[in-house]
């Protein structure tokens, strides 16, 4: 894995361009910085200044090369590259609280914004007026939407919310697309229809992700659980309580394996077995090299005993690559079906790129099915 420390401040959010040579990230302020890969270094090539509040979500559309950003100033901007500069277009979201997350749809003709106003704004471009228009999904959302993910059919949208539920909505906009074919989650999909609502887990839903086929959705919740639901006549839910601190972000790397990361500062693997409808812990993905254990002098032992009431110095230093919570995880290569590389950014201002093959060979019991 390769770790690069961009900043001392947390990275609020990040997005990669199509060929993974440029990364757009928010250094915990009102701007978006775009860095370009320069051999082994990263150089800042653009600074996007338009937001009046912290930028909470960035998404980069790979095909159309447009960036959408949303922030606590209740606005979203769509940026297009004109020559050498990124030009913003304001999108009126009609929300009265901060926007929290934004995602382009797979076909890039729509994007969805989750906000603290307890609703999701689904925005699409209206050619006649040359303007981005939005439609709201309100019912039955009771609190802030923290995370979003689109189904590959461009219509269904999974949303994790602070009202402890993960839901799948239909975001079908008849002006820009045809009626969708039936999916595992249902066949009638009018705009705003709830196709699935989770039960059972308590805690805010921090991260949500559809699998590559769209038949499964996984979410990570603040009560230290991860759950996977599989669509079908009756949705089948499997959840796993973990012994670690809550996870903040989750993604599928194959149809059966998930990687999640959170406040414990290292990514973990989970494996879903559809025959048993059970989720199991696959392993910790960050095994630090064992540093040589220096013998402790008697003086150090006494000092430890005095300071911390214990001679055990195991917990003193965080041995993982990230030194603070990991807040976002993104797939670099291979898509959600056969991910080869994924990237994590966190509150320590650093970005780590993880290689799946090296992880598999490094951790002997790891099996990514």
């Amino acid at each position: 894995m390769s770790y690069h420390s961009f900043l001392l401040e947390p990275i609020s959010c990040h997005a990669w361009n199509k060929d993974r040579t440029q990364i757009a990230l928010c250094p915990n302020n009102h701007e978006v910085h775009i860095y370009k890969k320069d051999g082994n270094n990263w150089s800042k090539i653009h600074v996007l200044k338009e937001h009046n509040g912290q930028v909470t979500g960035i998404d980069w559309a790979p095909e159309s090369n447009r960036i959408v950003t949303c922030g606590t100033d209740r606005n979203a901007y769509v940026w297009t590259l004109k020559g050498d500069a990124w030009k913003p277009t304001l999108v009126i979201l009609r929300i009265n609280r901060a926007a929290r997350c934004v995602k382009w749809s797979p076909k890039e003709n729509k994007f969805a914004v989750g906000s603290g106003s307890r609703l999701i704004s689904v925005c699409y471009f209206e050619k006649d007026n040359d303007w981005w228009v939005c439609k709201h999904i309100k019912k039955p959302i009771r609190s802030t939407i923290l995370c979003l993910d689109w189904h590959p059919n461009n219509v269904l949208l999974a949303a994790g919310s602070c009202d402890f539920k993960c839901r799948i909505f239909s975001a079908y906009i008849k002006e820009v697309e045809e009626k969708p074919a039936p999916t595992a989650w249902g066949s009638k999909m009018p705009f705003g229809e709830v196709m699935f609502e989770s039960t059972g887990t308590a805690g805010w839903v921090h991260g949500v992700c559809f699998s590559d086929s769209g038949n499964r959705v996984a979410w990570a919740s603040h009560d230290s659980t991860v759950a996977v639901a599989e669509g079908g006549k009756t949705a089948v839910c499997a959840s796993l309580t973990s012994e670690t601190l809550p996870l903040l972000c989750v993604t599928f790397i194959t149809e059966n394996s998930l990687v999640a990361a959170g406040h414990d500062c290292y990514p973990v693997l989970f494996v879903y077995d559809s025959n048993k409808a059970a989720l199991s812990f696959g392993g910790k993905l960050d095994v630090p090299k064992q540093s040589a254990q220096k013998g402790m002098t008697a003086r150090e032992r006494f000092q430890n005993l005095d300071k911390k009431a214990t001679t055990d110095s195991k917990e003193a230093v965080l041995e993982s690559v990230h030194k603070n919570s990991i807040s976002q995880i993104s797939i670099l290569n291979g898509g959600k079906a056969q991910c080869a590389k994924f990237c994590t950014t966190g509150m320590d201002g650093g970005m780590t790129i993880w290689d799946v093959k090296t992880l598999e060979s490094a951790m002997k019991d790891l099996k990514i099915v």
Partner: protein
């Protein structure tokens, strides 16, 4: 204008109660939850299956059955907590670890909920006993177990 500023009763109004967007937890039938069976637990505590060892494991399993999570009746909850405390205090320090190991994942989560409830109202020796149980439950359930106690909307 000076007449209006005389009374300050308006400051005591809880504005959040009148917010039409106020989050209300879903109602889940809790009327039938009576908490662990007192008679059963008492009899198990007094049982001596073999000479000098009481059936405390059985008592632990019994007292963790039927937790009054959904009920709104505070008496039921207090009674359940008292029973749990009784069972936990009758364990010998060396047996606590075995007791925790005999529980499954949900059992450890539930035990941790009762432990924290017990911390809220300390009596003479309860905190010491509860701390010993807390240490063993923590090594079994991990930090996630405590997170679940903190994030649970409905607790014992």
């Amino acid at each position: 204008m000076s007449k209006n500023t005389v009374s300050d009763r308006f400051r005591k109004v809880d504005v959040d109660e009148y917010d039409e967007n106020k989050f209300v937890d879903e109602e889940e039938g809790g009327e039938n939850q009576l908490g662990p069976d007192e008679a059963e637990v008492d009899s198990l505590i007094r049982q001596y299956p073999s000479l000098f060892t009481r059936n405390l494991m059985g008592a632990l399993q019994a007292v963790l059955k039927n937790p009054p999570i959904n009920t709104k009746n505070q008496n039921v909850k207090d009674r359940a907590e008292g029973l749990v405390l009784k069972v936990l205090s009758s364990f010998k320090s060396t047996d606590i670890e075995k007791g925790v190991q005999s529980l499954d994942k949900n059992g450890v989560d539930l035990l941790m909920k009762y432990i924290y409830k017990g911390f809220e109202q300390p009596s003479e020796n309860s905190s010491a006993v509860l701390l010993q149980w807390h240490e063993k439950a923590l090594s079994a359930g991990g930090v996630g177990c405590i997170v679940r106690v903190l994030t649970a909307r409905k607790t014992v």
